[in-house]
């Protein structure tokens, strides 16, 4: 499975771009496979202030709806409205066109609490064993 090096990862399977102040957020390839066919994405409104670990978006498949948690605290500066008409992009391109929203980080140091690509890969590997 592909976990790009330039991203940081959460245990709840979100990714966030590791560098910059305004950074994009999405879900990992592992997450999109687990969710299966995404039929709807409820995006946060621009200007919404989110806390690390709190719900920022909802992804819905045919079977269930999943909360997407903010990997870091900040203000939502953009949302990928393309997903409203084409939610399947989350499955097809989780790290590209399937991104969900952009955060202006209020505390970039929070990124250090997240996993690197290698750590996340191991985390997935460990979880799979259980």
């Amino acid at each position: 499975m592909n976990f790009p090096e330039n991203l940081r990862y959460t245990k709840t399977h979100e990714w966030i771009v590791a560098q910059g102040v305004k950074v994009k957020v999405g879900v990992t390839e592992y997450a999109q496979k687990e969710i299966s066919d995404v039929v709807f994405v409820e995006l946060p409104k621009k200007g919404l202030v989110v806390q690390q670990g709190k719900t920022a978006a909802v992804v819905e498949s045919v079977k269930a709806a999943f909360d997407i948690y903010a990997p870091a605290s900040g203000k939502v500066t953009d949302a990928n409205t393309t997903l409203e008409g084409n939610p399947g992009l989350v499955n097809q391109s989780p790290y590209g066109d399937g991104w969900m929203f952009e955060l202006e980080l209020s505390n970039p140091a929070e990124l250090n609490t997240l996993m690197t690509a290698q750590q996340y890969g191991e985390f997935i590997h460990q979880s799979a064993k259980h």
Binding site: V39, E42, E60, K63, A64, A65
Partner: protein
């Protein structure tokens, strides 16, 4: 074997955890006189005796079969075709609930799907759910949808919306940060446009109107949806669904949600229930719809099949994060409504609605000629209007009851300022002779 056993040891552990030594200590605050009361239960009866007793008790009820009834105010007397009763009594259908493992019951799902399709047509909106418990619940759920959808805190409701519905919404919002705020009506009973527009601000999540409103007035909502949309709020309409057959539909008024009481669609008054809450929305709110929805799909062999759909946000999947705690519907009542609409057909529903309008309008003009009564509703009506009695209404009601007539519903208990006013309803069940008999009786009051 008990499902969960409760051993003496368990009990001891519970009591210890609470911090009391014994069960009697736990209930010490209950006065001795209330503990272990003597309950005098009469001797057991045989089956024929029980039947006799129940029949006698039932005979104490006064129904619209015994009295000439002009009662309405949210529960309406309509003719119900005999075929409807036969259809809903079929054993394949006779269940109150959407079945568990619903896809195993294709017939039930198809009936719900057809009910939904008919409701979208009747309301002029895109998506209907499988129904709610009643009109009040449905409207309260609509208020919640508006609050969640807009992330705002206030809901505006016209005071001309059924008092019970407003009370139910208030109950729903109790203990939440959300606020229900009312706007009034003018002398004729139409909503107060100016007061409404003054209250429509950036905090308003949704606006609720009823048409025909509680007083029977068909509201003029011209320009309202534009104002509400421009404000970023959700427009919710409630009203007698039969009236939508001849007046503008919620969809035509530009509403985002139509939610209300479906009882007029083939359900008996039956002392207040079970009824049916209809809930229909625009496409944009589809994923916010609470409760169940039946959908049309194909099975593995490509054959037509019905399934429950858009369930991802229901509470059995999303638990405490669900948009609503409602996870069932009124399947049998929805089937009755579906049968009613199907048996009458498009033209039939229109004709029934027109007869309602005609009968009520005739009755209104006759009552307006009486010297002891004043008609308070001059606007367009469907099957109901407001009358003021110059004598105390309680006296009028008493006399009328002696003549086996229910003259209407007193308004003062709901609106203290509407002293001696009452709501008169005439549906297609009343003949010209019935109406004339009522007017003659009123004249003698």
């Amino acid at each position: 074997m008990p499902y969960l056993s409760l051993t003496e040891e368990d009990k001891k552990a519970f009591l210890h955890q609470i911090g009391v030594r014994s069960f009697s200590e736990l209930i010490a605050s209950i006065p001795q006189s209330l503990r272990d009361p003597k309950v005098s239960i009469p001797e057991a009866l045989s089956e024929p005796e029980v039947q006799g007793l129940i029949t006698r008790l039932g005979g104490k009820n006064t129904t619209t079969k015994d009295f000439l009834s002009f009662l309405g105010a949210g529960s309406y007397e309509h003719f119900i075709p005999a075929a409807l009763v036969e259809i809903i009594s079929r054993q394949e259908f006779l269940t109150a609930y959407t079945p568990y493992q619903p896809e195993a019951s294709q017939g039930t799902l198809q009936a719900i799907y057809e009910y939904q399709s008919l409701m979208t047509e009747l309301t002029g909106l895109a998506v209907s759910n499988a129904s709610h418990y009643d009109g009040a619940t449905s409207l309260a759920e609509a208020a919640l949808v508006a609050l969640k959808h807009t992330d705002r805190s206030r809901v505006l409701v016209a005071r001309s919306v059924h008092p019970h519905y407003r009370e139910t919404i208030r109950t729903y919002l109790a203990g939440t940060p959300y606020v229900l705020e009312e706007f009034g009506f003018d002398a004729g009973g139409s909503f107060n446009r100016q007061e409404f527009l003054e209250k429509l601000d950036g905090n308003v999540a949704g606006v609720i109107f009823q048409t025909p409103n509680f007083f029977g007035v068909v509201e003029d909502l011209e320009g309202m949806s534009e104002k509400i949309r421009a404000n970023g709020s959700v427009m919710i309409l409630t009203g007698d669904p039969l009236s939508f057959a001849i007046f503008r539909t919620p969809g035509e008024w530009g509403a985002d949600i139509a939610a209300g009481e479906g009882q007029p669609l083939g359900l008996p008054m039956s002392f207040g229930g079970p009824y049916l809450g209809y809930f229909v929305t625009s496409q944009a709110l589809m994923r916010r719809i609470p409760g169940r929805l039946a959908g049309l799909t194909q099975d593995a062999d490509g054959k037509r099949a019905f399934c429950l759909t858009l369930q991802a946000r229901e509470q059995h999947i999303r638990r405490e994060r669900a948009g609503s705690n409602i996870c069932s519907n009124q399947a049998l009542c929805a089937l009755a409504a579906c049968s009613y609409m199907t048996l009458l057909g498009k033209q039939g529903i229109r004709e029934v609605a027109e007869i309602n309008c005609d009968r009520a309008s005739y009755l209104r003009s006759q009552i307006s000629k009486l010297k002891n009564f004043e008609v308070e509703t001059s606007q367009t009506i469907f099957n109901e209007f407001r009358v003021k009695s110059k004598k105390p209404f309680a006296k009028v009601e008493e006399k009328m009851k002696a003549w086996k007539i229910f003259p209407g519903v007193a308004l003062q208990p709901f609106y203290p300022e509407l002293k001696d006013q009452f709501l008169v309803c005439a549906t297609e069940t009343k003949s010209k002779e019935d109406l004339d008999r009522f007017v003659e009786a009123l004249e003698k009051c």
